[in-house]
Every structure is written in C-alpha cells, then in structure tokens.
Symmetry: D2
Subunit: 306 residues, 4 copies
C-alpha cells in the first residue's frame, strides 16, 4: 500500500513552516534576487499519474542547474557511452570551484553537472542540432505536455552580463580542445537553459522519465533505454548537489538535482518524482528548506533506495 | 521470483575467465605481492540465508580497505551523528591522493573510506575501547559466526614497515588536532585492520548486516538502526571505490567496498550481499575482474537500486 | 677596468655554436613557428654608451613577454605602490599554469610577469591612456630612439585567434572584480604588446633604463625614481623567468626577462644591458641558448649582483 | 667612503622604537612564547672586521630557520651540484603550506629553506657525518670563533613534542624515497638545528662567509668556492623569507634569512652582514621590526644589489 501522500505533505509543510523565508536568495543577478524568499511549493507525481501538491506548486521559477539533467539526457541519448570521452562521471569533491580541477585534468570536466561539464554538453548538442535551444524546449514540452514553457529572457540576459566565470571556463576548455564550437554560441545556449521557467508540478512530471526507467508515463514514449535511465539516476545521486552530494545521499538517499533558483527535484525509482521550491539557499547553494523537505519525505514514507 | 543465482554465477564465471590472472596484483608489500594472480572466488548470501558460491570462495585473503566498513559501523553505532564532526561525508574526487585535500580542509578527511578518514575512525575507537583490535574481531566473529578470523601478522608487520604515507597522514591530522591518541597507537590498529584475512563467503555473510537494514539475519541481533544502515549504504555507494566511485555507481549501481587485496563486497538492500575476489587490480586500485563480475551481475539479474 | 667584451662575446659564440638551431621553436602560432631556429644574436650596451654585438643582433623578432617589463614600468610610474593592491610581488612557483593560484587567491595574480598579472597591468593602463598601445610604443621609441618599432599585426592577429587561455584568465579575473574594463579591450592591448618586434640592439638599449637606475643614458631623461628602478630589477630577478626564476637567479644571478620568441634581456646594475636571441626553447619556455649565453657571460666577466 | 654605520643604526633604532614589542611572538612552543616581545638588537660586521651594534645584540636567541643556511652550506660543500637532484631551487610561492606542492612534485621539496627541503638536507648530512649535530656546531664555532654556542635542549624537546607537521613531511618524503635514513634520526637533527641559540653579533659574524664570497674573513679559511657562495646568496634572495620572499627582495633587495625566533640576517656582498632580533612576527612569520630595519638600512646607506 502506498503511503498517504497528502497527509505526509501536510505534515512536512507544517514542520518546515518556521524555516520558510529564511536563508539567502541567490543574488548574483537581479532577476533572481527579487524573488520573494517566502515562496514555497511541493509537487509529487507518481508513475501511475497521481498528483499531489501544495503551496506555490503552480508558479514558475528559474530552474537554473536543474536544466542540466535535461541537456544531459538529450546528449546521452544521442552520443551513448561516447559522451564520457569528453566529460567525467566522478563527483567533483571540491569546495573550491571547478577551475582548479579542470586545470589538473586538462580541460575534461569531472561530471556533467558542474558548470564546466554542462558547457561541454551544450557543445555536444551544438554538433547535433542547428538550434539546441529549440531542441531543449521540445524535450521539455514533450515531457510535461506544456507547450508554453519557455526561457525567461530577462534572466538569460542577466546571466550573460555577469557570466564571466562561465566565459572563463569555456575559454579554458577551448584552449584544451574540449569545446569545438565558438565560445559565444556555447554560452548563449547555456545562459538560456539556466533561464527556463517551470513550476514544481511541471518539474515533477518531467522527472517521471527517470523514475519510470526511461519512458514517459503519460504517453508511453521511450526516450532513454532502461540502462541509460538508471545511469542518469546514478549520476544524479553522486553528483547532483554540488559539493553537498555525499551529504544529500547520506541524509536523503535519492537521486535528484538542485538549482540556485531554489528548486530541487528527486525521484524514487519505479514510484514517483517530487519537486520542491523554496528560494532560500544553504551555504552549498542548495535550497535549505528543499533539502529538509526531502529528508522528511524519505523518513515519513520509509522510502529509500538503500 | 528471485533470479536463478547458480546459473547466473556460472555465466559470469564463464565470461570473465579470460580476464582472470591479468591486471597487476598489489605489490607494495611482499605478503600481498606473492598472492597468485589467478585466484578467483564469488559468494552470495541472501537475507533468507541462501548461499551460492564458486571458485576460491572459501580461501581467506587480506581484506584491506574493506575493513573500513566494519570500523565505521562500530564507530557510527557508538558516536551517532557526532561522528561527522571529525570526518566528512563527501566523495574525495581527487586523482591525486588525499593529502592535498586534507591540507585545504584543515585536517578533516573528506570521508571515512579514504585512509585519512579511516585513521580518524580508529582514533575514535581508541576513545571507546581499551583494545580496539579485539573489539573489531569480536564484531566480525559475531557477524560471521566464525571465531577463527584473525589478523595476518605478517601482513600487519609489512604494512607498518612501509606505511610512511599513513604515518604522514596521521601526523598531519595530529598537527591539526584531529588525532587525539598517540600516532603509534592509531597506526598499530590501522595496520592490523587492513591485515584481517577473510574468505568471500565470510565477507558476504558479514555484509548481510547492511543488506538487512542493520540486524544480523542469522541471529536477529540488531547492530545498527535502520536509518544508520541506510546511511552506511549511501556512503559505500558514493565513496566506496576511491576515485572510481562515480564510475562504479554508474556502471554497477550498488553500495559496496573494495580493497587492494582484490576483494569487493556489494549489497542489494533487502536482498543479498555478494563478495568477489580476484587479485589483479585496475588503475584505480580496484579488482578489475571484481568490477566486471558485479557489472554483469546487475545486468543479468536486472537488480539495481536505481 | 671593464672586461674585454668583444673577446668575451666571441668566446661565448664559439662555445654555444653547437647548440644553435636545437630546442623547440614556439609553435602555438604560425608566425612564431616559421622563425628559422638557427637565428642567433647578442647585443650589449653599457651605461656609457659602448655597444658590442654579433650575429643577428639587428634583426627584429617578436619580443613577446619581454614587453611585460615595459608595460609594468609605465604602470608603476603612474600608480606607484598602489599598483600592488591589484597584483602581487611573489614568484608564482607553480609548474602548473597560473589559473589554480589565481583561483585560490581570488583573482589577484601573483606577479606582473605571469599572463594574468600582465592583463591586470593592461587594465590599469586602460584607466590612464585613451590609447595604451600608442603609449607603449611611445615609451619604446623614447628608450631606443627608434621610431619605427611597431606591432607585427600578423602576430597580434594570431595571438587573438588562439588566445583562449588569456581570455579565460581575463574573464576569471573580471568575475573577481580585478578587471575593470571590457575583456575584449584588455585582450586587444595584450595581444599587441606581445607582438612588438625589436632587435637585440634595441632591447639592450631600452633596458639600459633599468641598469641606469631609472634614467635614459642617451638623453638623461628620468623615467623612474632610483628606488622604482631597483624594485623593478628585484621583480625581474625573482619572477622574470616563469617557473625557472629560481634556477636562473642561481645560475646567472642577474635581473632579466625572457619571451617565448627566444629573446632574453638581462642587466648588470650600474653597468650594462645584454640581449640575446635564439628561438629554440627549453622545457620552461625560455631560450635554451640564451640562458647558456648569460650563464657564461657572468662566469667570464666575473660580474654578479651576489 | 663607507656609510656612517653608527649614526645610521641610531637613526633606525629611533625610527622603529614605537614598533618594538608589538606583533605576535611565535607561540607554538612554550620556550619561544615566553621570550619578552620587547627584545631588540642589531649587529653589523664588515668584511674588514669592523663591528657596530646596539640593544640586545649580545643576547642569544633561538635562530630557528636561520640554521637552514648553515646546514645547506655544509651539504652544498659536500655534494656540489648533485644536491639539486633531491631538492629544488625555486621559490615555493604557496600561501598554503608546503605539503600540497610536495605531493604534486612527488616528494622533491621546492627549495632547501622550506621545512621539507631542510629535512632532506639533514638526510644528506646523515650520509656524510656520523654525528651531524656535532658537525653543525663545529661549523658555527669555526665561523664565529665562539665555542660555547650550543643547542637549547629545552627548545629542542619542545620542537619534538609538537613537531607533527615535520613528522608528516618526513614520512611523506620517505614514502616517495626522498628520505634515506630513519625518520626519527632526521627529525632529531632537525629539531636540534632549530634550537641553536646565537646572538646578533654571532650571526652577523657567521654570515660574513656569504658576504666574503666563501672564505672566513677572520681566518682566511675558504669554506665555499666563490661560485658556491654566490649561488647560496641567490637562494637566500629568492627563497629566504617564506612566501614573503618576493616582497622582501622588492623592499630590501638583499640576500638573507629569517627565523620565527624573530631573527633576520642579511648580507651586502663584498661588504657586510647585518643581523636583527625582534621577536614580534608579521603575518608571514618574519620579524616585523626586522624587515623594517633592513628596509631602512638599504634606504639610508643607498646600498643595494640592484
């Protein structure tokens, strides 16, 4: 018998209420800094199509790094295991940012979820699509059934105007031969993917792909092989939360991905996807309340991959 | 219906036969260097007590770093979450060895499975036991029901005679205040724990503790809470295979731990533990055949935590 | 009595003849790769105006990093000690390139002679001059009396087309707030300064400024205070030769600066400047024959600052 | 005409008086922590035998790292250029301590003045002397004419009791094969050399060896070739002041060596040696007043190697 999700969601919301609005909203671009810190939404969708949600679960926000899972899925489907010649599979394990490791490892990023890795994934997509931004939106429209999900151009423009670290990473990898297309083209796609706006409900539905072993529950369309889906889940578990990945695996024990917009999505293989949004971040750049919600969720449901 | 384990084991043994005896046996101490490279054993034990094995599954070998799971379990049971004040939970992610990271992070090892972390765990055990070596053997005797498992003193002596890196790590952490007991005492326990000799069948049985959510199937004795057991599994998945942890999670997808003696143990939560022994190592210091065996095992059984 | 410079130059030329044409010419841009490896020139000019030279001492070549001394002199004259708020004074001491150190030190380059430091110096000049390229040529025209020294535009263009590492450095420092002008403007000046073409005789004369405690011997014009001149010499001694700076100080014992075009200039304070050109580089990126020439020069003249 | 040293010393003493007693005395061992912070002495001795001094110039203090110049001189005399196979010549350039660099460079210390390098020098001396401690005292007795200079055994004992970082370094280099004798023997010599007690006047006289191109002025005994002496001076200039070496070369411009006991010795080649003692340290571990004294000394005398 599946858990009583509505009751569990209410319990969680009750418990984290005092924390909501605390933490520091990402402030590196104005469009993110102005998001009200007390936004809070949760959405669950099961592989059977049941939906549970509360709070601001229908309000769209900047998904930021969560987009890296979508671009990775696109690239993995097209390249298969060849992908790993250009980007690694290991946790970055580095409290300092990734430039150091990138230098020691000669332009091969540790994994596709650090910024450098996501830039290489974009470069790969540029070799397959004349318009990777459109291809990415297509995928998300397919996964969610929502055709009006799009880029927030104000966010994308702000990302570009402050994106010197990403420009440094792309130029550095280009100097090592691991970026094949013009740096400006790579950055343009990257700044847009970070600026996709989605709601918790849309994110939960989109991530059902990974909970459902690679096919879309609503349509039955197979997008990834079962093996590819499992492997993406493994990467999410080991690399999905910056240098807090081990901590998250330890405390929550689910594959997932976070973004500095305050969103987190996680999945229980074979069962469901859950998305949380709360903009206040902890010192690792992950949603503080989001982590807590997921921790409680696994405790209360007793669900765990371990 | 559970998979047909005997048939699967035979298929695997057939497939890896050409690889057996290849790879480089650990050569840093004579006692390990003289192990015949063509040794090969597999053992499975399920939480229901069924046992399947083949090859040299009853021959004892040096478990080396696999012992770190046992000392961690002992320390975690005693200290609970306080443990994480003195050792981290994050993958080390460093192809260079851990001294660099240890320096940047002021003497706090990244996780309990790198050598530095295992030395801190020993230091913690020295605060709880007058004879941590005896306590460690007691635990293993309890888990396996085999009272004659012991230290290979020749191996322990060799470890000490060549253990300058470990002496460097312990002294360095002592300079940062993260080793409380005399360096010599810490090293003595550490060199002994690496020198424990166990067979595949014994290792599989001992690791049932982690497949069985913290209680020993044979006796029903609860050693860890269910939550503690899950958390140890999460650490094994993210940190159990040196800098190949992400690769292993990606390709195999099971919590486990390897040792340079050529042993690997992995678990499927709720179902079984599987131990492999093949002394030839890959470039990451993990048993080359062992990794391959586990990869085939998950493919053939369709079992995965993802 | 001053040494017999003509005889000493002949002795040196004789001794290094078998080495000429060996080593690897810088090949990262075509314009440098096509320079004949057997070019060889030496020029000495004393503070009293005596000139001694042999070989290809009148042929112009790409001065590359030697230009960093000229831009530093310009910036130091304008900013004085404030300069050191934005760039350090310490040897980089890093066999890996400077990106790592730059990251640990939050965008403040270790010294003005590593590329990152030279980019900051350009950024500073952009705050003082509407046309820093013209200002730089003016300085060199003043120092040498040669008004036709100019940029090799083919080299400058090639530098830009392959300058991804420098673009990475400039973007990275911009992300840390240590580049104030547009990255493209900074890179344009930098790629041009590296492309200045000068001969050994012109370089020796220009560096007399530093041998003559800050005033130009030919005109008497004071460009730097005596203290500033001494300080620039100290930086040349400790930082002028990439990660071979200590080796050079040990073997030669003179302040100087090298470039990957195969040029090296060094000075004996109060006495002379000496420039050598031989395009074959050693593994540190310094002219192999050039280092040898200077080592012999100090041995044969008995001149040393130590 | 040489400068009026007595007048200059008085001027300096006057100027730095307000700074004396400030700064932080080295506190890592009790024997150093209890030194009164307001101690202050200066001593000059010229190669012609003239002596000038003031303040506590006759009081002995712990010379600490200054001893590394003496052990290096001993080893260089015995090994010649072979020495550089086991220790480098480059500035360490690392604000973090040297363990990181040692790891990247496989156990070869960057230079003989970082602790790791000094330990290798001791290991070399252990291959030449049955009693390196006696050999070291012999050298110092010869250089100074003072036979009662000896180790402060209380300091040596304290060094040992807290010397975990040095034990880590020695063990780590032993693991890389760059320490040939037992770690304990190496550390014993090292802890004693740091504990040598000398006065400013004795230090100034001892360092005349390096000002006088390798022979002892008082006796005419040649200890180093002229070339060896110059080279030791070059190392002192580039590596003598930890990660402040470039700063010191820039501001003072003389070869020298500092110790955490608050002593600094510097030389003007061909002219004199000057020793200062003031226990308050700056953030780089060098005597704050000592640096200032030397800076003023070069300004007021106009003496500089540049």
């Amino acid at each position: 018998m599946p858990p009583n999700y509505p009751s569990i969601l209410r319990q969680i919301a009750e418990a984290v209420r005092p924390e909501i609005g605390k933490g520091k909203v990402a402030g590196y671009i104005p469009a993110l800094a102005k998001v009200p810190p007390d936004k809070f939404g949760i959405a669950i969708e099961t592989v059977r199509g049941e939906q549970y949600y509360l709070g601001d679960a229908d309000e769209r926000f900047s998904i930021q790094s969560i987009s890296k899972v979508f671009t990775l899925a696109l690239a993995f489907r097209l390249e298969g295991e060849n992908l790993w010649n250009r980007v690694g599979l290991e946790p970055s394990g580095n409290p300092f940012n990734s430039l150091v490791q990138l230098e020691y490892e000669r332009g091969i990023p540790r994994n596709p979820f650090i910024n450098a890795g996501a830039l290489v994934i974009v470069d790969i997509l540029l070799g397959h699509f004349s318009d990777p931004k459109a291809a990415l939106l297509d995928l998300i429209h397919n996964l969610t059934g929502q055709d009006d999900i799009h880029f927030d151009e104000e966010v994308a423009r702000s990302e570009r105007e402050t994106g010197y670290t990403n420009a440094a990473l792309a130029n550095f990898m280009k100097s090592h031969g691991n970026i094949h297309h013009p740096v400006a083209a790579v950055l343009d796609v990257y700044f847009h993917q970070c600026a996709i706006a989605m709601s918790c409900r849309e994110l939960a539905r989109a991530f059902l792909l990974f909970a459902n072993h690679g096919s879309v529950p609503a349509t039955g369309e197979r997008m990834l092989t079962s093996s590819q889906s499992k492997r993406l889940n493994a990467i999410m578990l080991t690399c999905g939360f910056y240098d807090e990945a081990g901590e998250f695996a330890f405390a929550v024990g689910l594959p997932g991905k976070s973004g500095v917009g305050g969103g987190i999505v996680a999945i229980i293989p074979g069962e469901l996807a859950i998305a949380v949004w709360s903009p206040g971040l902890n010192e690792h750049g992950n949603s503080a309340v989001g982590i807590k919600v997921l921790e409680m969720f696994t405790t209360l449901t007793g669900m765990s991959i371990f």
